[in-house]
Point group: C2
């Protein structure tokens, strides 16, 4: 039975899992679960992931959620995946775990609410697209900037192409870059204001893209569509309802 990946491409951890499968030629079916309409909270989906979030996978009888856990599982379960994604070496693997753990309470805690409050609009009911909240955005921008500074100064030291000075990407590179890519939906000036001070991060994003294209750009295509819709919303009224619904690839 083919691996099923329950995802929505607007979700940054879901994109990381999809890109990972594509780059590593893992045979999988992408099942779109539309969190923008509350489909992740349906009883059918809660059978797959009781936490009601994407991504989640079903591999035969095995069900798993949380993107970092999924990435390390896939890297181990599918023997064709090159070692650099999740190195068997004890020390390198421990450092990758450390970055991924840090990600939860730092980069994600900054980037996700920043994008929601400054561009997508916070949840109105179970659905995103409510009025923007510049004050909340300012608060979390501090966490986002502090996180970007740490990545720039600690994990991209010297001329490293990837985190930890590695020559090839790991699941930590993919996960963190997919998070930062969420800033693509911002107005160009805003994105430049936030990311501009971090030249190494900008180069690292390009390195991860090069190492995973054409899949990376394909999977991130949704962000350009969302950005275009956000622009047209801005041109009408800042507080109008915003429809994030996408055409499903496959039914739940």
């Amino acid at each position: 039975m083919t691996l099923k990946v329950y995802a929505h491409r607007l979700s940054q951890p879901a994109r990381a899992v999809i890109v990972f499968c594509k780059v590593n030629s893992i045979d999988f079916e992408e099942v779109m679960v539309d969190f923008t309409t509350g489909q992740t909270l349906s009883p059918e989906f809660k059978e797959i992931n009781p936490m009601g979030q994407v991504p989640a996978i079903v591999d035969g009888r095995f069900r798993l959620f949380e993107s970092h856990a999924i990435l390390s599982y896939l890297a181990t379960a599918f023997p064709g995946v090159p070692d650099h994604w999740y190195p068997a070496d004890l020390f390198t693997r421990a450092k990758i775990h450390s970055i991924l753990d840090w990600h939860h309470s730092n980069l994600r805690r900054g980037a996700m609410p920043f994008v929601i409050n400054s561009a997508l609009g916070p949840a109105a009911g179970p659905v995103l697209g409510g009025p923007l909240n510049p004050q909340a955005a300012n608060e979390v921008e501090k966490i986002l900037r502090a996180s970007l500074s740490k990545i720039e100064s600690l994990w991209l030291k010297g001329n490293a192409k990837f985190l930890l000075g590695n020559f090839k990407p790991s699941i930590a590179d993919l996960s963190l870059v997919c998070e930062i890519m969420q800033l693509e939906v911002l107005d160009e000036k805003d994105r430049e204001r936030v990311l501009g001070p971090y030249p190494k991060i900008l180069q690292w994003i390009e390195n991860v893209k090069s190492a995973t294209n054409p899949h990376f750009d394909d999977v991130h295509g949704i962000l350009h569509k969302v950005k275009a819709r956000l622009q047209s919303r801005l041109e009408s009224t800042k507080n109008s309802a915003f429809d994030l619904r996408m055409k499903p690839n496959s039914k739940l």
Copy 2:
């Protein structure tokens, strides 16, 4: 060279690492870094952990931070550690990663700010002990309760002694129970109000204690001392400064 564990016993992830080392007879030196006086932000400690947090370890030339990464590293690096702590089995290990990832954005996001805002007092400068914030405590109590409900209904189903229906504890049991133990500093009524509705969680805490004692109780002794100090603060004035400083075990 002996493993060094940089910790403070008031930190729940630091306690998890210390209990783990003691239970598994890992030879280590506990180095107290007093985050209550801002010592975690000192240049000396930032050489150990540039993120300025405990726990962190130094094992020979290898440095690592983030408690979950440390626990899985120790379980792998020290051959005497029984398999149940971090099972080699692909599927069980993936589920443990999933719980630990979930912990960051759920149980921890609820428990830590709840205890800070309802008992310890939020940071005043770099140091805890400022005026309590009942409104903030109410907000995060919702996250805490939702997290406890998920643990009770999903991972402690049936008559399981430990998470995932296991017969012996894993690093996920230890990490999550140490988090919940932070509620020990609350007034008894408050703790009962929050934890009372979850009988399986109460039993699970006892199971983890039994499996790791006398070390568990020894390492958690600090919470009783802090609770006593909090009680005397409550008897004087709710908003007086609160001194959390402890006598160091060993110097940085």
